[in-house]
């Protein structure tokens, strides 16, 4: 402790905050030059009517960008679980993905 000189004692206290994990940068996939003729997967995480929303996204592509093929898929289980089988399937059969509505 030290006196600030104005009658107000200064205190030394400890920081209550934990240790942040070191951030490891992740690479991003190369973006597509164009969506023409590409297959885009619309991934439904099955949360709060997200599938209904993605059907509207699918309709939008049909009307405005008919050269884009869209495929609507549901995640295999609840959105809180990783889904490597679905991700592998999209990697094999698709060019890009839209996931929504995220939480």
């Amino acid at each position: 402790m030290a006196d600030g000189g104005n009658g107000l004692q200064k205190l030394s206290v400890l920081n209550p905050v934990g240790y942040e994990p070191k951030i490891t940068p992740k690479p991003m996939a190369r973006r597509l030059e164009s969506l023409d003729g590409k297959t885009i997967f619309l991934v439904d995480p099955r949360f709060d009517d997200s599938g209904l929303f993605l059907r509207q996204v699918q309709d939008w592509f049909s009307e405005h960008m008919p050269s884009v093929k869209t495929k609507l898929v549901e995640m295999s289980s609840v959105y809180t679980k990783d889904d490597p089988k679905t991700w592998e399937m999209i990697k094999t059969n698709g060019d890009g993905a839209i996931i929504g509505v995220g939480h």
């Binding site: 206290v13 951030i23 929303f53 939008w60 289980s77 999209i90 698709g94 890009g96 929504g100």
Partner: protein, 441 residues
């Protein structure tokens, strides 16, 4: 989170669409996962319950965050090359200094409040002397890693030492002799400040000799603010959770839509082992009666209560209470010793397990109603459709067929109360784990 994995690990250009209330949370999660350039856009909250026309308007509309067309951001997200600037900005390494800059009592209190390090109630400043006194009540070294916490499964764990737990215990006003209980809670890996839109809180049940050693209350008013150990251990659990996991800030690292008043003290109490007619909770979970433990439950959003277990219609009364619970959070019966003994008299439940079995068989709901609950749709239905039991079998039931709401291993019984009357309640919560306190003495 899934978009980050699909993009970075599988090499698939991906765009995530979120609702606007998650703006800060999305920024925080993408940064912490090392992809600050992750592509996303926003539509208005909520999506749930909207018509096809309303959802179409979202798709054709503008992002409420950027003001730009949603589909334009989607298409750009799939096609615009990465810039790298924000990524480089994220590659800093931070370490938390042990001491804060010295300042006056008033200024430090303001600093803690403004930095969201408190529960908005006054705290005890963690001076080196007070923290040392706290540390004297454990054999563990101050720099030993005590555990890891995170606010939900989409965020990364933060790490902390025994000393960091002591700092938060001091802030909560806990006495040093409570410290092993607080360390056990901190080591559990279960956060009392989980970030879920459903506004969770934790519940803590203490068993074994430590209850009497530190003067915890299991009797009159045990779950209310009338006992120093109950109150400050529960408060410390909340403060250490938020500060050691990287925060709990509304709109950023806390998304509970309504919040939860139970979070102030994490419903912390001792089981009334002396007046209970049954086996203590920790013994049910593999510990000896002489062991001291903390058991943690999460959820604590829904409760039902009543007085007594009536001779004629007790079964109907209990079924009504169960039917009114949130079907996704399992029931934990919190019984005053009078009510516990009445359950033995009425139903012959001479063990907790027998009562649990009865609850399992009598918590019923028509299948159609059960599957239509939004929480069941979000969290159970997807598991059922991919064959996970018992949900897959339940999915085959006709809409008017009665199905069981819960699994037997999700149902629990704890005895608490001071026998001023036979009141009891059901807490909707999920048992997480029981942790040894003795390991942290």
């Amino acid at each position: 989170m899934h978009a980050i994995a699909l993009d970075s690990k599988y090499g698939v250009p991906t765009v995530a669409i979120h609702t606007n209330v998650f703006e800060k949370a999305v920024q925080s999660v993408t940064r912490m996962h090392g992809m600050p350039e992750a592509r996303y856009t926003f539509v208005p909250q909520p999506v749930m319950g909207k018509t096809a026309e309303q959802l179409r308007a979202y798709v054709e509309g503008k992002s409420p965050i950027s003001g730009r067309p949603v589909m334009q951001e989607v298409i750009e997200g799939l096609t615009r090359p990465a810039e790298g600037d924000r990524l480089r900005a994220a590659q800093f390494k931070r370490s938390t200094p042990r001491l804060l800059d010295s300042d006056t009592d008033e200024n430090l209190h303001r600093l803690f409040l403004e930095n969201n390090w408190t529960d908005k109630l006054p705290i005890v400043l963690p001076t080196e002397k007070k923290v040392a006194e706290m540390l004297a009540h454990t054999s563990r070294k101050p720099d030993e890693i005590a555990g890891h916490l995170r606010s939900n499964q989409f965020r990364q764990h933060w790490e902390f030492t025994v000393e960091k737990v002591a700092v938060n215990a001091v802030m909560a006003g806990a006495r040093p002799e409570y410290f092993p209980v607080i360390l056990a809670l901190a080591s559990s890996g279960v956060s009392a400040r989980g970030s879920t839109t459903s506004s969770m809180a934790a519940m803590v049940v203490v068993n074994g000799p430590i209850r009497t050693e530190i003067g915890m209350n299991s009797g009159i008013g045990a779950m209310a603010p009338y006992n120093h150990a109950n109150a400050t251990i529960g408060r410390a659990y909340g403060l250490l959770s938020q500060n050691l996991q990287g925060g709990s800030i509304p709109g950023d690292s806390y998304m509970g839509s309504q919040g939860n008043g139970y979070a102030y003290g994490s419903v912390t109490f001792a089981e009334n082992e002396e007046r209970s007619p049954w086996t203590p909770f920790h013994v049910q979970h593999g510990f000896k009666p002489s062991d001291s433990t903390v058991s943690i439950f999460t959820g604590c959003r829904s409760t039902a209560f009543t007085l007594g277990v009536r001779e004629k219609y007790w079964r109907e009364h209990v079924r009504n209470m169960l039917r009114g619970m949130d079907a996704h959070s399992a029931p934990t019966f919190l019984l005053d010793p009078i009510a516990a003994r009445q359950y033995i008299d009425r139903g012959g439940f001479d063990t907790k397990e027998k009562l649990i079995q009865w609850v399992y068989e009598n918590a019923l709901m028509p299948a159609g109603e059960y599957w239509d609950y939004q929480l069941i749709q979000n969290y159970i239905y997807p598991r059922a459709t991919f064959g996970e039991e018992p949900y897959a079998s339940k999915l085959k039931a006709a809409p008017d067929e009665m199905v069981k709401m819960f699994k037997p291993d999700e149902i629990h019984v704890v005895v608490v109360g001071g026998e001023t009357n036979g009141y009891w309640r059901i807490m909707g919560c999920n048992y997480q784990k029981t942790v040894s306190v003795d390991a942290w003495r």
